[in-house]
């Protein structure tokens, strides 16, 4: 392969390089610490009381350098992506010619020898990659900028930037990969990064437990996905996307080959189900959804990364990428379904509805968003299940923008609440000179150390570990993420309010002006097409998604009202703000950029038949679809559905109805401090508690899986099997030989006195063992050695005789 940087076929290789290099440079060179006493306010709030101990804190120089390197890496990736996207559109000429897809930018190199062949690793830019390259690097850049502010006072900021660079690098690798194996590499490295970043404050039991949970849950799915990859590779001899999903012959032959396991399903079907299970883990679909809400334990930029730009999007991206394989042998638009499609429909629809019901009863501002992510991902999976390929991709992109926005905005809210908390705390104690100064100035930059002393202290839920002590100053516990503690934040945090509102409306699918409306509407339109033709899966999906969309609008309204409307319900909320200076700018600017996308990203996907807007925005067909559909081979490219008013009206109804109901309950007469959630009364306490506790899945899994496996590993696999059965057998054998030895000893004494005595003695001298015999077993072993020696000698004697015979003819 010729290395030529101006060659658009080579350029995609360079996209992940920037962040990956950033990771290496920060890790190896710029991550430098100074050791200071743990009591210093510079050493954040995520640790127990370390009196009289010194700890490493990243130096100021290292902070600055790491930020510069991390930012340079991701900006480089973004610029190259822009160039690549430019190339891709350039190839298309007028933008609708559809050349990209038939032609692609691709290059590959030998990577792994497999007999006379080689497995080739390469990069690929087709329409789907191009669309991902518009979203992912941009979202990453914004998240990085936000992190500068959010992590400004963390004692391990350099480590954070190195890890998040690796995260971005892995996601970009996954996006440009031309084969399933390289995709899996990015997939798993992202798993590692999310593990490291969820557990970033690793001293907190809740954080490392969440990290382990995330990694283990996704790994269940990943090992099954690995089987799918191995199976696909075994069947086709390749893992290259183009050679499989852009190749009708291979798809057909896979659909006609019976599966190697489980009768009654095709090879394509079984491979597909294995691969889909991978996504069920990665994109947190039921029943492997439990890790995602706990992933909130990480710093908020990480949540944005996981929920929008990377991790969970990667799962959906993989589904979209491999979709033609899933569809092989079926035709959802003609009502012909196969196992993978039905599997996706059911899992997606169930997850969308199930997660939305949980989100309704959450009070933690980030948990609401977490369950809404699960629910929205369910929309996408269900959409793919009914063959709505374009709509699923569209929703993936719009969702990434508005969900990144919502997470970062909620991070700002939390940051602001902590700021307010510090304010209150400083006043309550009143003896802290720093605090007074701080309170007077309201300027975090004036004294970052003080601000940091309270930073994220809410996270100190030190349960379950005896040695973990909460910092004394934070009792009694105040939770700055609890929406019940908020209220009225629109006054002190106006920019956050406006952007959060835009993101929330987009999530709720507020008609016409938000991106979320258009993408969700397209999914419902595709589903409705099947309903009107009487297809079962379509009907299931339509009903579940419409209900879920209603709940989404409701819990979004609830969240917006509880957080921003009414009057502050606590002192902390009254004083919540982001301060001024770099931190504030870094934490607001990305919100504004994302808010623009959360509105306008939807206008590329309007149906041409839509009254008025369709004619203006999509005169030559839906731009998004006309671009994306060439990812598929010609006879798989979906037709544009005729405009139908029913799903649009449903979209209007559920979005406005949900928002309206939410406003009626929480907005018209906002909660005041101490007032109970009206939902408890409406749902009855039993239902409410069940929802609030997420249907008790965590408890169930711990009881059914975690504990039994821990017990089995220790007691059965180790103590019973290895120590008991196998070693027991060995020790018994040794004992038998000891008895035999005793018997021989007796023979010694009576018969061949002296001869055999010499042997054990010799061996004993040889092994120094005789010096300090500690256990009785040693003697048994010694005797075994002696016996062994004798047997060897006998065999030698015999075989020497034999060899003579063999050698002399």
């Amino acid at each position: 392969m010729n290395i030529n940087f101006s060659d658009p076929n080579f350029l995609p290789w360079l996209i992940p390089v920037g962040p990956l290099l950033g990771f290496l440079l920060i890790t190896l060179i710029t991550n430098r610490s100074k050791w200071i006493p743990a009591t210093s306010p510079q050493y954040g709030g995520h640790h127990p009381d370390y009196d009289g101990m010194t700890v490493p804190v990243v130096t100021d120089q290292s902070r600055v350098l790491s930020i510069i390197i991390g930012m340079s890496g991701i900006v480089m990736a973004w610029l190259i992506s822009v160039a690549t996207v430019g190339n891709a559109f350039g190839l298309n000429g007028d933008g609708t010619g559809g050349k990209l897809g038939q032609d692609v930018f691709a290059s590959a190199a030998n990577w792994m020898a497999t007999g006379i062949d080689n497995f080739r690793m390469g990069v690929l830019v087709d329409p789907l990659t191009t669309i991902m390259l518009i979203m992912v690097p941009l979202a990453c850049v914004l998240i990085f900028i936000y992190s500068i502010g959010y992590m400004a006072n963390d004692p391990r900021q350099a480590r954070f930037f190195s890890l998040i660079s690796l995260f971005a690098g892995a996601m970009l690798t996954l996006v440009v990969a031309d084969n399933l194996l390289l995709l899996f590499v990015g997939w798993e490295v992202m798993g590692l990064c999310s593990y490291m970043l969820i557990g970033f404050w690793f001293e907190k039991p809740s954080a490392y437990k969440a990290a382990i949970k995330a990694f283990t849950t996704t790994r269940i799915a990943d090992v099954i996905m690995l089987l799918g990859i191995a199976y696909l590779y075994a069947e086709t001899g390749t893992l290259s996307f183009r050679e499989i999903v852009y190749n009708g012959e291979i798809l057909e032959s896979l659909a006609n080959t019976p599966a190697i396991l489980f009768g009654g399903i095709s090879a394509a079907g079984l491979i597909s189900i294995f691969l889909i299970i991978g996504t069920v883990g990665k994109s947190a679909q039921f029943p492997l959804h439990v890790w995602l809400p706990d992933a909130m334990e990480g710093p908020t930029p990480v949540s944005a990364m996981i929920h929008a730009a990377a991790m969970v999007s990667a799962g959906i991206y993989a589904l979209i990428r491999m979709y033609p394989l899933f569809e092989a042998g079926a035709h959802p638009h003609h009502g012909e379904f196969n196992a993978p499609l039905i599997f996706m429909s059911v899992v997606g629809a169930a997850t969308a509805l199930f997660a939305a019901t949980i989100a309704v009863a959450q009070n933690d501002v980030k948990k609401v968003l977490a369950y809404s992510t699960i629910s929205q991902l369910g929309f996408m999976v269900a959409a793919l299940g009914i063959g709505a390929y374009i709509a699923a991709t569209f929703h993936l992109i719009t969702h990434a923008f508005f969900k990144a926005l919502l997470f970062m905005a909620s991070g700002s809210v939390i940051h602001g609440m902590e700021h307010g908390e510090h304010h209150v705390h400083a006043h309550a104690h009143g003896h802290d000179a720093h605090g007074d100064q701080h309170a007077a100035g309201h300027d975090p930059e004036a004294d970052p150390a003080v601000e940091h002393a309270d930073d994220h202290a809410h996270d100190a839920h030190g349960h379950g570990d005896a040695t973990y002590r909460e910092p004394e100053s934070h009792a009694p516990h105040f939770d700055p993420q609890d929406m019940m503690n908020m209220g009225g934040l629109r006054k002190t945090m106006p920019v956050t309010f406006i952007t959060f509102l835009i993101g929330g409306l987009s999530l709720a699918g507020f008609p016409l002006i938000t991106a979320g409306f258009w993408s969700k509407d397209e999914i419902l339109a595709d589903a409705w097409y099947g309903v009107s033709n009487g297809y079962g899966p379509h009907t299931l999906v339509f009903i579940c998604l419409a209900l879920a969309a209603f709940l989404t609008a409701f819990y979004t309204a609830r969240q917006l009202c509880l957080t921003f409307l009414g009057e502050a319900r606590t002192e902390e909320a009254k004083h919540a703000n982001l301060g001024q200076g770099v931190v504030s700018v870094a934490m607001t600017l990305p919100l504004i950029v994302l808010a623009v996308f959360a509105i306008f990203a939807g206008f590329v996907g309007v149906n041409p038949g839509f009254p008025i807007l369709g004619g203006i925005l999509s005169p030559n067909g839906i731009p998004f679809k006309e671009f994306l559909k060439y990812t598929l081979i010609a006879d798989m490219q979906p037709e544009t559905l005729a405009f139908d008013a029913v799903p649009v009206l449903v979209s209007f109804a559920v979005a406005l109805g949900g928002l309206g109901l939410g406003y009626l309950m929480y907005g018209r007469k906002p909660l005041v401090a101490g007032e109970a959630d009206p939902l408890i009364k409406i749902l009855s306490p039993g239902v409410y508690t069940t929802l609030k506790n997420k249907y008790y899945f965590d408890e169930l899994y711990i009881r059914v899986f975690v504990k039994p496996f821990q017990w089995f590993s220790r007691e059965v696999a180790y103590v019973f099997l290895d120590k008991g059965v196998i070693d027991g057998f060995l020790h018994l054998t040794a004992r038998v030989f000891t008895w035999l030895g005793d018997f021989i000893k007796m023979l010694n004494a009576w018969l061949i006195d002296g001869i055999l005595d010499g042997v054990p003695e010799l061996v004993a001298r040889f092994g120094f063992v005789a010096r300090r015999i500690q256990t009785g077993r040693v003697q048994q072993y010694l005797l075994l050695v002696a016996l062994a020696t004798i047997v060897i000698a006998v065999i030698f004697a015999l075989s020497a005789g034999g060899s003579q015979a063999a050698v002399t003819p």
């Binding site: 127990p48 792994m112 997939w187 496996f709 070693d727 500690q774 062994a788």
Partner: protein, 534 residues
Amino acid sequence: MTIIGFDVLSFLVFAPAIAGVIVLLLPQQKWIARFSALGAATVIGGVAAAVFFAYNVASPDFQMVIQAPWFRLLNSTWYIGVDGISVSMVLLTGLLTPLAILISFEIEDRVNTHMALILFFAAGLFGVFVAMDMMVFFLFYELTLVPMYFIINQWGGPNRKYASNKFFIYSLGGSLGMLLAVQLVGITAGTFSIPDLARIWPDFTGADGSFLGVPIETVKGLAFLGFFVAFCIKVPVWPFHTWLPDAHSEAPTAGSMLLAGVMLKLGAYGFLRLVIPLFPDIWIADLNILGFITNWATVFAFLAMMGVVFGAFAAFGQTDIKRLVAYSSVNHMGFVAMGLAVAALTYGEAWRDGTSAHLQSAIIATNGAVLQMFNHGLTSAGMFLLAGAIYHKTHTRDMTQYGGLWVRAPIYGGIFIFMSMASLGLPGLNGFVSEFLVVRGSWSVFTALTVISMIGLLFTGGYILKGIRGVLHGPFNLHWKDYKLEIELREFIAVAPLMVLILLTGLAPNWILNVINASVTHVLTTAHLVAGGM
């Protein structure tokens, strides 16, 4: 290529032994012994690397072959050479020996003897890997036992006597059968040359179909069993593995590194070099176990699966960090065994029928198995190095006693996570490549067993995360407040080459896989040519 009068492979075998004797005779000054041993091992490691890079992939048969008269009485000769499989193991031995010696600098007691034993051990390992004569193979195979026994027995942990004796007797028990097998095969066939045996032994019928009155089939069966059990113990294949957790956890750090890093590979290498080529008929012959008609290759695959699954479970059940790492070897070597089982079945079929439907799968699986041997050498040595480093500083291996050490050992923590992830098989690092190859290869052949072994792969994640959590995560235990916990420069130098190779192999495995692949492909595609199977 000759070095001071020796051909290069003989040099690799004898130089460590001679260096060992010299170190033993040097003045009893710690630094003299340490640095002379390190110097010698580094030079030898350099030669091993040179041998690896001198190996010509274009002609994937044995190279640098030397045959000289040796044990005329037995018709055994000093017959040595390397192919792509053994040269990778030579490289691994050459790499790990100096690193183990560097780690042994922490030994304060009888330094000369300790260093000499490590060098003797290396001599034995090189001897096995270059042997093309079965007697030479056996001799060096047994020679590795003695130094390792003393290293564990004299410098090991609290329970070292039990561990070393168990290790020695277990291994010796296997060796008894193997000696019998070596003698039976060698005497019956009249040669100990491994390439010659691979050619004639599978079809050997003898002059009158018997040997000393015993039917030749019985002789073959006995010899097979002898080899099989011996190598199963060494790998170790479940359920012959219980010596390993004791030996590994009680051995001093350098001992554990070499034991896990190279010694286990002797068993797998023995399967590849002897058991698979010599007994293709027995591997695939019908075997009736409780009414199930199966064959030895499938039984072997079953045991491999058990190793993967129960190794992972047992590792997950540990609270002792070294024992956890030790059980991870059972888990990882299970994948090696799985790959070998595919190779055995396919080699047998190709020998019998002239070709096998699974040929491509078998090449991939065997590539994976050999690469996994190399990779496990890197990662297990690294894991033991890190476990030893923390044990050396805290004097406890109990993970419940640690707690949050990452706070005070940030660099150590980073390296520990890196190494753990390599062990877990994270894509992008070395272990993934080999495990993927094995899974891919065994999928088509032993589908159900491969599916079940995924449980093991899942729990690999479990025990690795448990290890990280035990050592690094959680609030810092103030008990260790005044301890120096950070990794020392010497330990860092020892672990750095491993990390570089782990990353390199993960990102671009072809630097070594090309060499392995050439010989594996050669062996498997010429199976039908050896002897007159077809």
